[in-house]
Amino acid sequence: MNAIRRNRSVQIGMALLALVVVTAVLAPPIAGMDPLRMTPEDRLTSPVAAHPFGTDMFGRDILARTLHGGRISLSVGLMVAAVALAAGLGIGLVAGYVRGVDRIVMRVMDGIMAIPGILLAIALIALSGATLTTVVVAIAVPEVPRVVRLVRSVVLAVREEPYVEAAVAAGARLPRLLVRHVLPNTLAPLIVQGSYVCASAMIVESILGFLGAGMPPEVPSWGNVMAEGRTFFQIAPWILFFPGAFLAVTVLSVNLLGDGLRDTLDPRLRGRFQ
């Protein structure tokens, strides 16, 4: 734990992420404005004191929309990571331990991996309607195979370890084996993978929004806000710039966190300097 806290990447990542989370949680008091309120007389205003980030084509405040959008985008990132990890962990554990299931599951995973993730996601959303749930599921599904592969590879490696064989010889039953010896080994790589999934989910959310296949237009997310700025980017680049910058900082901080965790948690690196 101390090693994690002392890691530079983790420190920077945590600090930046905390900043973004605070602005999202405290969006109403900071922005002081309803992200949906239209002021047609103020449309496409460049950043001024009243609208620090400017306004869009309906005169809606970009600051308010960016901060409120952060709530949606961050939630999507977290929820996708949670869904993908939970599904991947369950399937991966079974695949790693039950030979017969393994072959079938891995073929299905290979098939899903062959379908480009964004295509699958936009197709799923287009055909089932854009809601928070469908967006989260649609972004999570293509991520699952990689988590399954990760968990499975850890399980396959761990079950060959002499200490696991010793536990088998000492009469440990399968559930105990999984919980005591296998599961703890999957946690570190899963946490690391989870941070990467979370970061990539936020990028995918913005792309879906940009393509018009993301969250419904009345819900501001970073992707949606940027999508609306597309047409006007030559005369009003701030509509694209500010949410883009927030997204970039958030993804950067989550990735830094992931890199830092990987460097401190990866047993191969850890063993080397003990």
Binding site: P116, A126, G129, L211, G244, L247, V249, V251, D259
Partner: protein
């Protein structure tokens, strides 16, 4: 070698089978009547009935699947609901720009990322390494469309060096073709250069710790030769693997980049079809992209055996 090739070829069959099932089921996974979903919010009952009839949705599910897969295997991807043209024809018309964009990105990525990665690994922790890792982290964090708009703003609008948008086929001449392709390729390459440079760095770094590197040093081999001959070649296997996997990522990037730069390729066709709920076209596109992914990874497998003699047996 032939055994290996044949085995790899056969292994693509179950993968494509899974893809086919998923693509077929897509329409049926969502809630409600698929025909109503396709027809949209303002459709009359007659419209819905017409679509249902055209897509054969009145048949039992397995009959629908068998009919569909039979058509797909003979190269018939169905008829577009929107334009009434064969899907295969629609796709064929749009292939060139997408291929140009993808291959351009691949070339730029490999040419830039691999030397960068090797250099960063050789002096791990040095200034080049830090800059590269920092730049890579940033490139991962900015969505490709934002990069695209920044490039357009700077190079097309402010400096007027390159066209803002659009595509010129190679048949119109190499210069206009390349001028139109330059910005989209650069925009799309950012994230891939970041990815491949990171993987190359990590892989070379690992190889540099191998015993046979020490053996080579004990022979008195020079640094350049050590990196090129002893470190890079074994390190390329993971790099090639990631290029194969990143193909799926590339498709996503292509879809977005084509929208930003207004390029009439498969990506634009995808977005348009999704917005029009032109289901047969969506199905056809996913199938084609997935087949391309599988084919790319088949080539990657072959490259393995060129790069690593241990895989040849």
């Amino acid at each position: 070698m032939t055994g290996f090739l044949l085995q790899r070829l056969l292994a693509t069959i179950p993968v494509m089978a899974v893809v086919a099932v998923v693509v077929f089921l897509l329409l049926h996974l969502g809630p409600g009547d698929p025909a109503a979903v396709i027809a949209g919010d303002y459709a009359t009952p007659e419209d819905i009935e017409r679509i249902r009839d055209r897509l054969g949705l009145n048949e039992p599910l397995h009959v629908q699947f068998l009919t569909w897969i039979g058509q797909v295997l003979t190269g018939d991807l169905g008829i577009s609901i929107f334009s009434n043209l064969p899907v295969a024809q629609l796709i064929a018309q749009r292939v060139e720009p997408t291929l140009a964009l993808s291959i351009g990105t691949l070339i730029l990525t490999v040419v830039v990322a691999v030397p960068l990665g090797v250099a960063a690994a050789w002096r791990a922790g040095g200034w080049l390494d830090r800059c590269l890792m920092g730049g890579a982290a940033l490139a991962f964090a900015v969505p490709v469309f934002v990069i695209g708009y920044i490039l357009i703003y700077v190079f097309a609008i402010k400096l007027s060096l390159l066209p803002v948008q659009g595509y010129r086929p190679l048949a119109d001449g190499a210069v206009p073709f390349l001028r139109h392709l330059a910005l989209p390729v650069v925009a799309l390459s950012f994230v891939f250069i970041a990815l491949i440079a990171r993987v190359t760095r990590a892989s070379v770094l690992e190889v540099l710790g191998e015993d046979y590197i020490r053996t080579a040093r004990a022979k008195g081999v020079t640094t350049f030769r050590l990196l090129r001959r002893h470190a890079l070649r074994p390190a390329l296997v993971p790099v090639v693997t990631v290029i194969g996997i990143a193909f799926a990522l590339l498709v996503g990037g292509v879809v977005v980049t084509e929208s930003v730069f207004n390029i009439p390729g498969l990506g634009r066709l995808t977005v348009d079809s999704v917005l029009r709920r032109d289901y047969p076209v969506i199905q056809g596109l996913i199938l084609v992209f997935s087949a391309a992914y599988v084919f790319t990874n088949l080539i990657v497998d072959l490259l393995y055996s060129v790069l690593d003699p241990r895989i040849r047996e």
